[in-house]
């Protein structure tokens, strides 16, 4: 059997080399240093027409990560809200959440992306008739325009202050836990931590003279000047990914909460713990054990699904690298292999971390 497999692989490699030879394609990664010569509509780092193909790979990867992270945040928030709403004693709210889940879970993501992009965002008004919020946020057919923060001299102190505040909070958290273990008295860690994390950077920010200016978008002629223009492709993809994934997350959250036995809540009540503490200290920690692994696989799905960006032309890894770059260079094997390797590395890393988490939170059976 081993020999058969080896022979089969040898046969494929042989064919491939012959075919590549016949088409005049050279194997190898030399093309990564060649000049790309096409432009990309959204670049998080500097990029021009004369950048290399290697650069297009990085740009595509960053764009994929951007939309994935935005999507994961939004999907988690919507998913938790909908999942909890499904368990609400309010009949209408529970029904509404059920309808949400059943509708969005059963429609292909690609249809949803195309719907948001072509049917909703394309029918928005032109820049001159933009819909605006507080005269700072504008929505039009060319996307979303939001104010752009412009750091001035001395702004660097604020992020440092934030970092220090986080460190102090962590140290304080550990101290509070030790104290609770020793004396049984709990400190209001969340409130104090929030105060430190918000307060310290704010004080530093004000003390250095508020060194941050907002470049507010302004309508000049036919377009906006200033501010950040978020591509409509990004908005459509983001909406579709988060709404679609949220439907699955909602089901996971619901099943996680339902998996905690009723007896746990009843026992907490008989110890006369208040409702909020029951939820936070008894129900949620046990529900998380069920929720987190499934949630991670949803996150991975979201990252993989973000490759559908290519259908509407959002410049993600697949569209830029496995699309344009592949068409221009013809290095199919190297490019597809690199693209797949990126997704594989992401999934394998996350699965590995997940296994560590699982091992840590496993029920300790004695």
């Amino acid at each position: 059997m081993f020999i058969a497999l080896a022979a089969f692989i040898g046969f494929l490699v042989h064919n491939t080399l012959l075919n590549l030879d016949a088409r005049g394609i050279h194997t190898g990664f030399g093309f990564m240093n060649e000049r790309a010569g096409f432009s990309i509509s959204q670049t998080l780092i500097e990029y021009t027409n004369s950048s290399t193909y290697g650069r297009t790979f990085v740009i595509g990867l960053l764009n994929t990560l951007l939309v994935s992270i935005l999507g994961i945040i939004a999907a988690t928030i919507i998913g938790f809200l909908v999942g909890i709403a499904r368990l609400s004693p309010n009949w209408l709210l529970a029904r509404l959440a059920t309808i949400y889940v059943e509708i969005f879970r059963n429609i292909p993501l690609l249809v949803q992306i195309l719907f948001w992009y072509f049917a909703v965002l394309r029918s928005l008004p032109s820049p001159r008739q933009s819909l605006s919020l507080f005269d700072a946020f504008f929505v039009n057919v060319r996307g979303l325009v939001v104010p752009d923060p412009q750091p001035m001299a001395g702004f660097a102190a604020t992020p440092w202050a934030l970092l220090i505040a986080v460190v102090i909070t962590i140290v304080f958290g550990i101290f509070a836990k030790r104290r609770q273990m020793a004396t049984g008295k709990a400190l209001p860690v969340y409130w104090i931590g929030a105060a430190i994390i918000i307060g310290l950077p704010l004080i530093v920010f004000l003390a250095t003279g508020s060194p941050l200016e907002w470049s507010v978008p302004e309508l000049t002629g036919f377009n906006f000047r200033g501010g950040i223009n978020v591509l409509p492709e990004l908005v459509a993809l983001w909406l579709a990914l988060s709404i679609y994934t949220a439907a699955f997350i909602a089901e996971i959250v619901r099943s996680g909460i339902l998996s905690v036995p009723q007896g746990q809540t009843e026992a907490a009540r008989s110890l006369s713990l208040p409702g909020a503490i029951t939820l936070r200290k008894i129900v949620l920690p046990q529900a998380m054990r069920v929720i987190v692994p499934q949630m991670t696989s949803q996150y991975l799905n979201l990252i993989k699904n973000s490759s559908l960006a290519t259908a509407i032309g959002y410049p993600d890894l697949v569209a830029v690298f496995a699309g344009t770059t592949l068409n221009q260079t013809g290095q199919a094997i190297e490019i597809i292999a690199m693209t797949m390797a990126v997704y594989l590395i992401i999934s394998l890393t996350v699965s590995f971390l997940m296994n560590l988490y699982n091992a840590r939170t496993l029920l300790k059976e004695r």
């Binding site: 494929l12 009949w91 509404l96 292909p108 195309l114 719907f115 699904n305 797949m340 997704y343």
Partner: protein
């Protein structure tokens, strides 16, 4: 012994009094479910307002103000949706560019498929085994002969002309029928004691599960021709089908593996004690139990597979979604994308929702025997 006639005691039961007005009927239901407290009442009001703001305009757009009849764009007079767009392209949405004279062949395949699915889905109908056998072997051959043609005096229809819902269903059915057996083999391989077989299966499964389907389709359309000896031309549809089958077989394998794990070790050992061979033990004892346990999981994988058939439009196959998209670029019908995508969403939704309902129904049915 006589019943005491003392007036201190009652001799007959009092009629149960009716529940208080407030907890009966519509008012009672409303109180219990919508207005049981201040927070609940506020939530209810907000939800009702939300429904009024969102769902009512949607209904107005899709049904009340919509146009259904007509043949050209002139028929779109209402403020709502104009379903004339869908109606005018209905044939190509179903059949793609399949030649009109040969469409009866597609109809026959659809009809047989519908009968098979109905037969398998309704638990009361008999002879399941033979129907499954026919669905897995006879039906694909029949569909292949009828759809592609070229034999028995049927005109040849190249796969380039296939499209619409017919192509969507073809991809879905081939994907489902193909990925299940491969998935079973992979799942068995992953639990095998032979390290070589096991590691090959683990690598295969983890590889396909780690990459997005689009890159697989790209690979199938760009890289597969490079792997084959120079003169063999692979059909584009066939390449996509191979990619989809391999991709989903990995997911199927994981679902089936979870079923295999749920079957106690004793079953296998009992089989060994009876002197059954590996394949006899698997085929007669383990798999029938394991597959039954994971039917809901398998159906859920089918649902995902069905939804993901829409991705083939990215490599240029004309499935239902692609045909609708192509219709939207028709200059006579510019600006009807909402109708187009809402219709596509509805069709996919009907298929997926009925499958998910069926899987829940099966889950409830199976629960009776296995709950401990």
């Amino acid at each position: 012994m006589t019943t005491p006639t003392n007036s201190t005691f009652r001799t007959e039961m009092i009629e149960a009094r009716e529940a208080p007005n407030q907890s009966r009927g519509v008012a009672g239901w409303l109180r219990a479910n919508l207005f049981s407290g201040p927070i609940n009442s506020v939530v209810s009001v907000v939800v009702i307002l939300l429904i009024a703001r969102l769902i009512w305009p949607f209904l107005e757009w899709t049904v009340i103000d919509a146009n259904f009849l007509g043949s050209s764009r002139d028929a779109c007079t209402g403020d709502g949706a104009c379903w004339v767009f869908i109606a005018s392209r209905f044939d190509s949405i179903i059949y793609g560019f399949y030649p009109e004279a040969a469409r009866w062949r597609v109809d026959i395949v659809f009809a047989v498929l519908a009968v098979l699915i109905a037969w398998l889905a309704v638990p009361r109908l008999p002879q399941k085994k033979w129907v499954v056998l026919f669905a897995l072997i006879g039906f694909p051959i029949l569909a292949y002969i009828l759809l592609l043609g070229g034999h028995f005096g049927l005109a040849y229809v190249p796969t380039r002309a296939w499209g619409g819902l017919m192509l969507t269903l073809t991809i879905a059915v081939v994907g489902i029928v193909g990925s299940l057996p491969i998935g079973i083999l992979l799942a068995l391989g992953r639990r095998s004691k032979m390290p070589f077989v096991k590691s090959i299966c683990v690598i295969f499964i983890e590889f396909w599960r780690g990459v997005p389907l689009i890159t697989v389709l790209f690979m199938a359309s760009v890289m597969l021709p490079l792997f084959m000896p120079g003169n063999i031309e692979f059909d584009k549809l066939l390449r996509a089908l191979v990619g989809i089958m391999l991709f989903w077989s990995a997911y199927m394998a994981e679902v089936i593996r979870s079923g295999l794990q749920a079957i106690g070790k004793g079953q296998n050992e009992a089989g060994q004690a009876l002197g059954l061979s590996y394949w006899q033990r698997m085929g007669l004892i383990i798999l029938p139990q394991a597959l039954k346990l994971v039917i809901p999981g398998i159906v859920n994988t089918f649902i995902s597979l069905f939804k993901d058939t829409s991705l083939v439009l990215i490599i240029g196959l004309l499935d239902m979604l692609a045909i609708i998209r192509a219709g939207l670029t028709d200059t006579n019908w510019l600006g009807f994308s909402t109708e187009g995508y809402v219709f596509a969403a509805l069709v996919y939704w009907i298929f997926c929702f009925s499958m998910s309902r069926y899987s829940q129904y099966i889950e409830r049915r199976l629960n009776t025997g296995h709950k401990q």
